[in-house]
């Protein structure tokens, strides 16, 4: 390990100066990782796009859409964008704080720990180990590793702040602080589970509560993993690249504070028209609308900082990436509040409109800010020119055209499908009663998306090539940058501590000190107090979190009890776990919205009390296939044999279906070695299984399986399916909607009787 701080002859000559050597090697590593994982994550994205357009691309069990989609999202968010923000933070923080990172060992532990997590995700997700909650699919041992590595990162970062030689924290650092604090809080509380095996667990929250916590997490992963660190990046790299001052210090203060405080409330807009009580939905919507200007404050400060540098845009790929990246940020942060308005969401939810929205943010904002940063960093870190400026420009244009093609296809697909779902014909019937008709209509647009994705990936690959060639051609000996800076004790001037007099705090003394230090500008003073600043950020994000989540957990009237709702049988529970393993929730929702066309198509809309034993909730967020919440009742119920044939070959019962075939479910025996452990985990979570039920769990499951298998054979289906996985899956699907249906029939009988009685 190199000495973080060397006191050379220069320091002796001028005692008020110190030399500091920045750790640039760790930044180079993060840059490599960014580009490699970026290419991998986007390639997986291209594969799953192809699978939607052309179902035969689901070539193998571990490569089906349901298993690869979480791999794609995790890879591009946590591997591509994750490594990019670490590169940005490690490079810029050292220079903004004028200190090396706190510990080289922690830096390396952070780097290798994070890559290890990515590799374990890439192995476990295709194998079907998943908690099913979006962007939080990784199983509990990996979740623990994430928490540990994040703490390592936090110590390294806050340690650097503590040793800084710059009294005041620059706006980029504020955004990094918000990122590190909030991601830790989100990850820990959303990942709380009871394990039921080495790679199996159940969320401690159920149904409505699980949904709320998940989307509090999911939305703020967008906020504090894909927005705040990139805003920090934006406040460092574009001003450096353009050599222009930031447009407005005041705007940076106001938009930072309002963004951090407001963002955390916005999560429930992912759950409009669901069983989530409407008051929470309303809060999610109004806070999303209020978030519009705080987001645009960032866009303005970015774009107006670059004004005056427009002349350089013609041949500087770096600035082009930044300008278009920030513009996409502005577009998606207008679109976000718009989609969170309930009546707009009624059309967009469950459709490809959401996919268009996230990709304009991910490809445009996160991707382009990353590429701009990498192209700017390469000459600095490898002491060489970019290998090819032409190639960098080609990357920019391929990427830009790719995004436009991609989002246009998905906007058309989303709006078209949303309108088809809600259309009634002149007879008052659904105009497109058969769900698959609304899918078949979109296939051409899914092919256009494949084209857009290919263009974007091609650009990324050019970027990788350019990086590799630049590094290979670099003749310079790589070394860390050393600069001479004013000594810490001179800079800080004791600003961190307010000395407290012996015998207790004298209130007036503290106030006087604060007043004297602030010079009438409280925020400027806060920028000198790293610890206080961090605590205030923590308080800011906890206000909205507590205000929404705590009442949902404590106030009983939010989730009225439904007497007929019972826990799943052991076989149904195993079937539900298979549903999670195969990632069915990536394409099928289980949440019917209170809209006439949904009730007509799927049956009664979802009630909060139905989901009290759902650990985790499986409401889904996208309907590539139809909703399954009432699959076991009414007009949607199918025979067991229909399901067997459908799993074996969906085209056999529905010729336009794009669902992958799940032949292995018919061949593989159901693993019941953890069934009892699973029931016990459920008991810990408050699900009312008895000890007797746990004892007989396996034999009960076998009995139910044998009886379903016998019915299949009697219906003319294949024989010998008892104890096969497919039977557990069928048991689960046939159970969906049954409890509420029973309750409603009882209610109807009761009201019929009371009409007769008088």
């Amino acid at each position: 390990m190199e000495a973080a701080l060397s006191t050379g002859p220069a320091a002796h000559a001028s005692p008020r100066m110190e030399q500091v050597t920045y750790d640039d090697r760790i930044v180079r590593w993060f840059v490599y990782a960014t580009m490699v994982w970026g290419a991998v994550g986007m390639l997986v994205g291209l594969i799953i796009a192809l699978q939607i357009a052309w179902w035969p691309a689901n070539v193998h069990e571990v490569l089906t859409f349901g298993r690869l989609r979480p791999l794609h999202t995790n890879a591009v968010i946590f591997a591509f964008a994750g490594n990019a923000i670490f590169a940005a933070i490690y490079y810029s923080s050292q220079r903004l704080l004028k200190t090396r990172m706190f510990s080289d060992i922690l830096s390396q532990a952070h780097f290798w720990g994070w890559q290890g997590i990515i590799v374990s995700a890439a192995i476990t997700l295709p194998l079907g180990y998943s908690q099913s909650k979006e962007y939080a699919e990784l199983e509990w041992p990996i979740d623990i590793a994430i928490a540990v590595v994040w703490v390592v990162f936090a110590i390294n970062f806050f340690g650097a702040i503590a040793r800084r030689r710059e009294k005041h924290l620059y706006v980029a650092i504020w955004f990094y602080i918000a990122t590190i604090i909030t991601v830790a809080v989100l990850h820990i509380f959303n990942s709380l589970v009871i394990p039921a095996g080495v790679l199996k667990s159940y969320s401690v929250y159920a149904g409505v509560q699980d949904a709320l916590v998940q989307w509090w997490y999911g939305h703020n992963a967008v906020a504090f993993f894909l927005t705040t660190p990139f805003l920090g990046l934006m406040y460092y790299f574009p001003p450096k690249a353009a050599n222009r001052p930031v447009f407005s210090y005041k705007l940076s203060i106001i938009h930072f504070g309002s963004l951090v405080f407001i963002y955390i409330w916005a999560g429930p807009h992912h759950l409009h028209y669901t069983a989530l009580p409407e008051w929470a939905s309303t809060l999610g919507m109004v806070f999303s609308v209020m978030l519009w200007m705080p987001s645009w404050g960032g866009m303005l400060n970015g774009l107006l900082t670059l004004r005056g540098a427009w002349g350089k845009l013609r041949d500087d790929a770096v600035l082009k990436f930044f300008v278009v990246g920030i513009t996409f940020y502005g577009m998606s942060t207008f679109e976000g509040p718009m989609l969170s308005v309930k009546s707009v969401n009624a059309l967009s939810h469950y459709t490809d409109w959401t996919i268009a929205h996230v990709h304009s943010g991910a490809l445009g904002w996160n991707g382009f800010m990353t590429f701009g940063m990498v192209y700017w960093l390469v000459p600095k870190l490898w002491k060489t020119e970019m290998w090819s400026k032409k190639l960098a420009n080609a990357h920019f244009w391929l990427g830009t055209i790719g995004i436009i093609v991609y989002v246009m296809a998905m906007y058309s697909a989303g709006v078209a499908q949303g309108l088809m779902w809600r259309a009634f014909d002149e007879t008052g019937r659904l105009a497109y009663p058969d769900f698959v008709e609304t899918v078949a209509e979109l296939i051409p647009m899914y092919w256009v998306r494949v084209v857009g994705g290919t263009l974007y990936l091609a650009g990324t690959l050019l970027g990788v090539l350019n990086l590799v060639m630049s590094v290979v051609k670099s003749k310079a000996k790589l070394s860390d940058e050393t600069v001479s800076v004013t000594a810490r004790e001179v800079v800080m001037g004791g600003a961190e501590a307010i000395p407290l007099p012996r015998g207790g705090v004298k209130y007036d003394d503290v106030l006087n000190k604060v007043h004297a230090q602030s010079h009438g500008n409280i925020h400027r003073m806060l920028e000198g107090w790293g610890g206080v600043f961090t605590v205030l950020v923590l308080v800011g994000i906890l206000v909205g979190s507590i205000a929404e989540i705590v009442p949902m957990i404590l106030v009983k009237s939010n989730i009225p009890t439904i007497a007929s709702v019972q826990p799943y049988t052991p076989l149904e529970l195993e079937g539900r776990d298979l549903y999670i393993r195969e990632g069915c929730n990536n394409c099928h929702s289980q949440m019917i919205r209170p809209m006439r066309h949904e009730v007509e198509r799927y049956g009664e809309y979802g009630k909060p009390g139905e989901y009290v034993y759902e650990h985790p909730f499986l409401w889904g967020s996208k309907r590539t296939g139809p909703d399954l919440a009432r699959e076991g009742v009414g007009k949607l119920r199918k025979s067991h044999t229909w399901h067997v044939r459908h799993f074996e070959n969906p085209r056999a019962v529905n010729e336009k279906s794009i669902m992958p075939a799940y032949g292995w479910l018919l061949e593989r025996d159901l693993d019941m070695s953890h069934t009892q452990q699973k029931l016990r985990a459920m008991i810990t979570l408050g699900v009312p299984y008895t000890e007797a039920q746990v004892e007989s769990a396996v034999s009960d499951a076998e009995k139910q399986s044998a009886s379903i298998a016998a019915e299949i054979e009697a219906e003319g289906g294949p024989a010998g399916l008892a104890n096969k996985e497919v039977v557990a899956m069928i048991a689960y699907l046939q159970r969906l909607g049954v409890d509420l249906d029973r309750e409603m029939k009882l209610g109807a009988e009761a009201s019929a009787q009371s009409e007769v009685a008088p």
């Binding site: 810029s92 220079r95 903004l96 004028k98 710059e166 005041h168 620059y170 460092y236 001003p239 450096k240 001052p245 930031v246 447009f247 407005s248 210090y249 005041k250 705007l251 940076s252 106001i254 309002s258 409407e278 309303t282 109004v286 609308v289 209020m290 519009w292 200007m293 705080p294 645009w296 404050g297 303005l300 009634f424 002149e426 007879t427 008052g428 019937r429 659904l430 009663p433 058969d434 209170p594 809209m595 006439r596 009730v599 007509e600 809309y605 007009k635 949607l636 119920r637 199918k638 025979s639 067991h640 044999t641 229909w642 044939r645 056999a652 019962v653 529905n654 219906e715 003319g716 289906g717």
Partner: protein, 196 residues
């Protein structure tokens, strides 16, 4: 703030601080930005109060409004288009109408063949070409099973998904394949019907 925002020549004024060479201007908040922010805050307050007091529809009220609209649509259409009668005789006439069987064949291929076989020979669902019927073999019985389904046996109700003339067309096609004895026909199920 006490500092001047523009110097004498009208240029933006820089704040005195600097971080790794990055400086910041002392520009004020853009007016339109500030006012738009205020407007969204006020709008949010108004919305929360309005929905709380019932001035804005909540989910259940929305559902009710929409249901009234669709129900009216259904009522008006049914008033203008009386349901085709389903007495055996009139059904027989409708089934025999020219083109009904061809129309029914297309419907059968897309909606029924997956369970009853492309020739009606039976797969998951029973054979429709023999004279054995689980729910009765009269035209009226077949019509009823298609329209209302037999949920216990896994037969969905097609009434909500198909228009009345489409149900009749399907009946027509099924009648046309009676006695065709296609290859791979499923074993008889139900009771024989001798009505033809």
């Amino acid at each position: 703030m006490s500092e001047q925002r523009h110097n004498v020549s009208g240029e933006d004024v820089l704040k005195p601080h600097e971080y790794d060479g990055i400086q910041e201007y002392d520009n004020p908040l853009p007016g339109w930005w500030k006012w738009s922010f205020y407007v969204t805050i006020v709008w949010s307050g108004v919305y929360v109060v309005a929905i709380g007091l019932g001035f804005i529809n909540d989910y259940t009220m929305d559902l009710q409004t929409e249901s009234v609209r669709v129900d009216t649509l259904v009522r008006e259409w049914e008033a203008a288009h009386p349901k085709p009668t389903i007495t055996e005789e009139e059904l027989a006439a409708a089934v025999a109408a020219p083109g009904a069987s061809e129309q029914g064949g297309a419907i059968f291929a897309s909606k029924c063949a997956s369970c009853h076989g492309d020739k009606g020979q039976g797969l998951i669902g029973p054979n429709l070409t023999d004279k054995f019927w689980i729910h009765g073999g009269s035209l009226k019985s077949i019509h009823t099973v298609i329209a209302e389904g037999a949920p216990d046996k896994g037969m969905p109700a097609w009434g909500p998904l198909m228009k009345p003339d489409e149900v009749i067309a399907a009946v027509s096609w099924i009648r046309s394949v009676q006695g065709t004895e296609p290859a791979g026909a499923k074993a008889p199920q139900g009771e024989p019907y001798e009505g033809n």
